[in-house]
Every structure is written in structure tokens, then in C-alpha cells.
Symmetry: C2
Subunit: 430 residues, 2 copies
């Protein structure tokens, strides 16, 4: 019986989920692999706090060196989160000849390539399946079984918090602020939710996905990113009436050596498979030149699903250790200097204007759009509850237009006396 020993950095939700996953399935894993995998050290700064797990004497430690410099430990599992000190801990572990598994999307998006190079230099493995898509085994699949493809498109719902909020707003017709509060109470959103609701978490994950799928390095801060904080229940209601759901999408398309990528809310038609991805579930769509459309769907967050992904990586490394074979040293996070960015291209857009409820306004707006070659696919006018009595929302689905042309048209419209505000502009994903 081979033994492989793990040190866990951190004792938050994902660490507890990892511990539990291993505990539940220890014998099964032993039977399948012939390896006994055991957590022998856990970094826990507050050992008096009850985490709901029962841990043997001597496992908890308050000193990272007990893990990072411990000759008995084969694999370091980093579950602290955030860029530092996590990156420094992982680098130290790799330099000490230890394999590293992490769930840390921020650290990998920022420093993954550097860490990968360290892994190669030290002949050890770095794995980060849990950093994208929670329990969904997307990265491993893309890096292995789907190597036979060239991919040109990625589309995904990869943040459980925002998808939960949007689903609840849609199902119950509630305001964003009310749902956010409820989400925080239920544990679906953090006390400081900005990383999720502003789209930063999604940008980190999209950066990692593009690196693996396209072989292109796009730092998360270079991805045009917009979260869900300006989505109103009226937008959701209008979208529903047009036959769409609103989802926060990560999208990336590769065309002619350039990449178009963004994180933004989008209108998704009801019959699109992504429309049925609800609450904390995630889904990732890829299109390959042989496999065609492929979608992975599952729990994007949560202690056990994420623990499942962490343990999946641990088992993969344990089996490689057991085989004694050369570790997989193919770097998967590429560093390229020249990435050409394509613009948003032509899309249909949902648009909401607050305008004067007066004769001739619609005609003026239509002419204003026409001047820019923008035409109207659908339109709706309904009385509003919250605008002054003389104003009314006009909601449009516009035919395909270039975003910059639309922005210019909207800038001009916004200056007209009959337009109170340009309230929402949301891309339509077909």
C-alpha cells in the first residue's frame, strides 16, 4: 500500500469540504488506486473554533513551515485564497520539491505562469482544477481528453453568487438589493460581495480558461469587465417579455489571431442551454473544431463540490507519484507578448431609455438610430412605476450593431431634451 501525505493550507469552507470528501471516500480511493492518501497537517490559525470536522491530535498547526518545509509532505494543498501570501506559499512548496494543488483563481490568474515554470524546474506538478467551475472537471478535460481539438469559442456562467442573485430576481421579481441581502444571509454571497458582483471573480476564471483553451495570456485586468450591480428587476421583466433571461456571461472568441473577450451581463434566449442554468449552478460551453459544441454543467461552488475537484487533482498527483514516472511538465498557462484584441464586434443589444411621454418621441428616436444605421428589431413601451409621471421607459431589442457605433448614437441621444436617461445597454447572446 503506497502512502501519499498531504498538507492543507487553510481551514475555511473549501478546506473543510476537501477534508470531508477525502474522509467520505478514503476507502474507495484506496481500492481504486492502491494508495492511502492522508492529510497529516492543516494550517489553522484559530484551532479553538469548531469547524464541524474531527481532526486527529497534532494535525492542526499555526506554522506554515510545518507544511511547506516538512519532508514528510508530498502534496501541499493551498486553500487560503487571495494573491498573497498564497502565491509565496505555493512558490516555496514548489521550490521544496512538493507538488501543489490549489483552488485559488486570483493567484493563478495573476501568477500561474510563474508558478507553472517553478513546477517544471523542480520536476513537480501544479494543479488548479478547483479554481474554475467548482466541482466541474473542466480544466483537466480541456488539458487532456480534448487536446485533439482546436477551440475557437468559450462561453460560460462561472460565478455561483451572481447566478443565484439573477435567478432569484427572475423567479420572484425582486429588487437586486433585497436578493443580495438574502443571498448573504444564506451564504451564497460574501459580506463584501464586490469580487463576485462586480465580475472580478469571473474575469480571473476567464483569464485562466483562455490561457488553457486558446494558449493566450490575457491578464484579468485587461478583460473588459462589467458585473450585475446595475441590473434592475425591470430589465429582467422586459427581457422575459422579449423571451430572454439575463445571465452574467464570460465569453471569449478567437478569430484571425485576435481574441474578443469580455465579462458582462447578456440576454440569453430561453431555449439556449445556458438559460436553464440556475442558482448556484455553473456551466461552461466550448466549441472545438472536431468535437463541436460541448457543455459542462454542475455546482460551481460549495465546500463538497470544490473539495471534489481539489481531491481529483490530489489523486492524479498521487497516482503519478505512485507510478514513479516523469511528471506531466507541459506548461498549460501560456505567456505570450502579442495578443491582439478584437472589439465587441456586431451584436444585438437590449436597450432601455427613459424618455418624455410626449407625441413624436418614438419617431425622433427611430430617426436618430437610423442616422447611424441602427435598426430596431423589437420595442416595448409600458407605464412605469418609478419614473416621474411625464416619463416612460422605452425598451428595445436592436438589430446587430457595432458597439462603438451604438455608444456614439446613445451619447447623442442622451443629450436630447426628450431623453431623461440611457438606462441599460445589455448585449444579446444568440
Amino acid at each position: 500500500m503506497k502512502h501519499v501525505k498531504i498538507g492543507l493550507l487553510g481551514i475555511g469552507n473549501v478546506a473543510v469540504g476537501t477534508f470531508r470528501t477525502l474522509q467520505m471516500n478514503h476507502s474507495r480511493i484506496e481500492r481504486s488506486t492502491g494508495i492511502s492518501i492522508d492529510i497529516i497537517k492543516i494550517l489553522n490559525r484559530s484551532p479553538e473554533k469548531d469547524r464541524g470536522i474531527s481532526v486527529a491530535e497534532g494535525v492542526y498547526t499555526q506554522d506554515p513551515a510545518d507544511i511547506l518545509d516538512n519532508p514528510e509532505i508530498d502534496i501541499v494543498v493551498e486553500l487560503i485564497g487571495g494573491i498573497e501570501p498564497a502565491t509565496e506559499y505555493m512558490a516555496r512548496a514548489l521550490r521544496n520539491g512538493k507538488h501543489v494543488v490549489t483552488a485559488n483563481k486570483a493567484a493563478i490568474a495573476a501568477n500561474g505562469s510563474m508558478l507553472q515554470n517553478l513546477a517544471v524546474e523542480n520536476n513537480v506538478m501544479l494543479r488548479f482544477e478547483a479554481s474554475v467551475g467548482g466541482g466541474i472537471p473542466i480544466l483537466g478535460t480541456l488539458s487532456n481528453a480534448l487536446l485533439s481539438n482546436d477551440f475557437d469559442e468559450i462561453l460560460g456562467i462561472v460565478n455561483g453568487t451572481t447566478n443565484y442573485i439573477l435567478t432569484q430576481m427572475t423567479e420572484y421579481g425582486l429588487d437586486y438589493d433585497d436578493v443580495l441581502k438574502d443571498a448573504q444571509e444564506k451564504g451564497f454571497a460574501e459580506r463584501d460581495p464586490s469580487g463576485d458582483v462586480e465580475g472580478i471573480d469571473v474575469a480571473n476564471k476567464l483569464s485562466i480558461l483562455m490561457s488553457i483553451i486558446f494558449g493566450l495570456r490575457v491578464p484579468p485586468e485587461d478583460i473588459p469587465t462589467q458585473g450585475i450591480t446595475s441590473i434592475t428587476k425591470d430589465d429582467i421583466n422586459f427581457a422575459t417579455q422579449f423571451g430572454y433571461k439575463i445571465k452574467l456571461l464570460a465569453t471569449a472568441k478567437k478569430k484571425d489571431g485576435a481574441v474578443e473577450c469580455h465579462v458582462q451581463p447578456a440576454l440569453v434566449p430561453f431555449d439556449h442551454p445556458l438559460a436553464s442554468v440556475s442558482n448556484e449552478f455553473n456551466a461552461i460551453f466550448v466549441r472545438g473544431n472536431a468535437v463541436d459544441d460541448l457543455m459542462f454543467y454542475g455546482k460551481g461552488a460549495g465546500p463538497l463540490p470544490t473539495g471534489s475537484a481539489v481531491m481529483g487533482d490530489v489523486i492524479e498527483i498521487a497516482r503519478a507519484i505512485d507510478k514513479g514516472c516523469a511528471f506531466d511538465s507541459t506548461p498549460v498557462l501560456k505567456e505570450y507578448d502579442d495578443v491582439a484584441y478584437a472589439g465587441e464586434g456586431k451584436n444585438k443589444y437590449y436597450l432601455k431609455l427613459i424618455v418624455d411621454d410626449a407625441p413624436g418621441v418614438l419617431g425622433k428616436i427611430s430617426s436618430a438610430f437610423g442616422k447611424y444605421g441602427i435598426s430596431i428589431a423589437s420595442m416595448m413601451q409600458r407605464p412605469a412605476l418609478r419614473t416621474p409621471e411625464s416619463s416612460v421607459p422605452l425598451v428595445f431589442i436592436l438589430h446587430e450593431a457595432e458597439r462603438n457605433v451604438l455608444d456614439t448614437a446613445l451619447e447623442e441621444l442622451g443629450k436630447q431634451s426628450y431623453v431623461s436617461s440611457v438606462s441599460s445597454v445589455i448585449r444579446v447572446e444568440e
Copy 2:
């Protein structure tokens, strides 16, 4: 640059798709892996026929020995299909120390365990990703990234032909026979479609899935199997009115050491993710004790998607050859003597009876059901187009009942003078 050489057995659709996938992505694969993978021999009994691919001189051969006994060939790819001579060819290749990749669900379902043992004995690898779910990399993912889980449920749409037929019947309100003919003309169904429409193909795939996921050997002939040949457009229409789609489902549940499995049409609620899986697309749902619900969706058939899966296995083996490390010898197809079968358990059922259009009939039927403790959840009565004027279809959704109790009740009802026929009994999947 490492070179790995392939021999292809067969030159049908999947072989052409494999050839094309490699051709399209040869440089990309070389860049990612450092390996040049090349097909040097193809078994082709009719080389004069144009397959739409251009193949170098000397590659086609009419003698299997040119591949199976060829010392230059590292990996044999079996794409002939059917149990024999495919099994014999694969066994010979393995005994000759060659790795084997296949798409052959019938041969693997029948002889997979024997072939796996041969692979282990000869220290080579056997892979069959393409045998289940076409391009969807389901088997590899279950065997690797998801080893951290214990699974208790599998649910899937795994046959493109039948899903195409049911989708077309549903979207266009057509008869089964008309859609089958159209499917054959379009290449979505074979000239002899029985392997698909009778559910045999699905039973083979479910057998393989249960072996890998549950570690239980259930021969395909032991899986209660029913195809789609008795689904009528009226059933589909009624199901739609109740809020369901009809899909051919492979299901397997593990409970208390026993397994319940079957292949049968089922009513699937509109909002179930499987309901949106249309035409030739497949989807496989699994539930693991850590990862929770997971679904994989993609093209279950077609030359390029299947070629993608075949080449995925080829690349995995090529990398193992290149690493020179001990091959993955963990058998994944288990052979167990004692598999306890659980019955169908309690389910809701859709039922269609053709009855006399006369007073009191509904009351008698309701009482007859009541006698067996079966109660009615929903009911519909509509005039029929194709029954004699004095008969009418009555369509029910029954509350949860044991299948054998229901069958007994239906046997009794079938004998009543006011019942012309018990026309359809379809399980409801919730």
C-alpha cells in the same frame, strides 16, 4: 520529436472522422505534446471507393496482419464495430504488445473485461472513450478527475438516432415512421435501425457506464430494455400538454448494494436539463457524493465528434509512451459475480387507455385503480382521430406506484369490456 505510429482498422465514418481530426490538428498536437502522431496503415477492404480523404501511397492495406503484427505500429485503433472480428483483432493487438483504442460499444460491453485483463498482462493500455457519448469525454473524466467521488446515480440520453427521431416527432408533430424514413435519408439512422431504435445501443453504453461508475458488471442483455418503436405522436402530444417531453433514457441507481437499471422511454419535465437536449445531442447526468449533480452535453455521434474522442485516447497513450512511464494498469471494467437487482421501484407513470366513450367508464377505471392503491395525478380526455367513433383515449399521469402493482392493475383493466386497449405505459422521470 517523438514519433508515435497508428494503425486504423476500418474506413467507415468514424475512421474518416478520426483521420480528419488528426489531419486538422496535427501541428497543434505536436506543439502541445512534442509528439508527431501519424496514421501509417489503414485497413480498407474497398480502396477504390472514394471516402473524401486523401491518403498517401502504401497506407491502405487489405490485410489485418499489416497492422496487428506490424512492429512499427504502437497503437491499433479499432473502428470496424460489432463484436467479431473486432474483439479478436483487439485481443491479437494487445497480445502483440500494442496499445488499443476503440469506439466499439458492443465489443467492450461484451468483452471489455477480458480485453482489459489482456492489456494489463501485456503492460499496454486499452481505451474506449468514443464508445459512450461520442465526443463527450465522459469515461476519462469519470475514471480520473471524479475518482474522488462515490456515485449513486446515472441518467442519460446516449443515442443520437433515437433522440433525433423523438425531437423531430415533437417539433413537427409527425408520425414515427415518417420521421424514421427522414432520419435514414439524412444519415441519422441506419438502413437497419433496430440496434438504435430498440435500445440495444443504449443498453451497451449503460453497461459500460455502470461498470466504470459503480464498479458493477451488468451485461447489456440483463438490462431491461425498451426502445422507441411504440411511441406515437399522440403520446408526445399528450405528454407536451402535461408539461413533459418524451426521451429515451438510460438510468441506473445504486441503492443498498443493489442496482436498479433500465433503458426505456420516459416523460421528462420541461425544466429538467435533459429536456433541452435535442436532435443528435447527448447528455449524461451523474450524481456524486461530493461533486453533487454534474452533466456533460455534446454531440453523441458524428464522424468528427467521435474522431475527437478517439484521438483524445490516442494522444493520452502517445504521451504515456513518450514519458516511458508504467502504463495505467488499473482495470476499470469490473467483473463481479453478485449483482443484486432492485426492481423499478415507485414511479409516476403516464398511461394511455383506449376506452368506450360511454357513461361511467371513468368512474369504473378510477375504482379499479383505487383497488390497487393507485391514484390519479392528472387526466385528460380528448377526441381521437384514429379510433373507432365509439372509443376515446384517456390519458393519465398516475401518482407514484410500484410497476408490478400497476401491471397487475392494467392486466385486470385490459380484460374489461369497456377497455379496448392499454395503449402506452411510460415512466415519468422527475
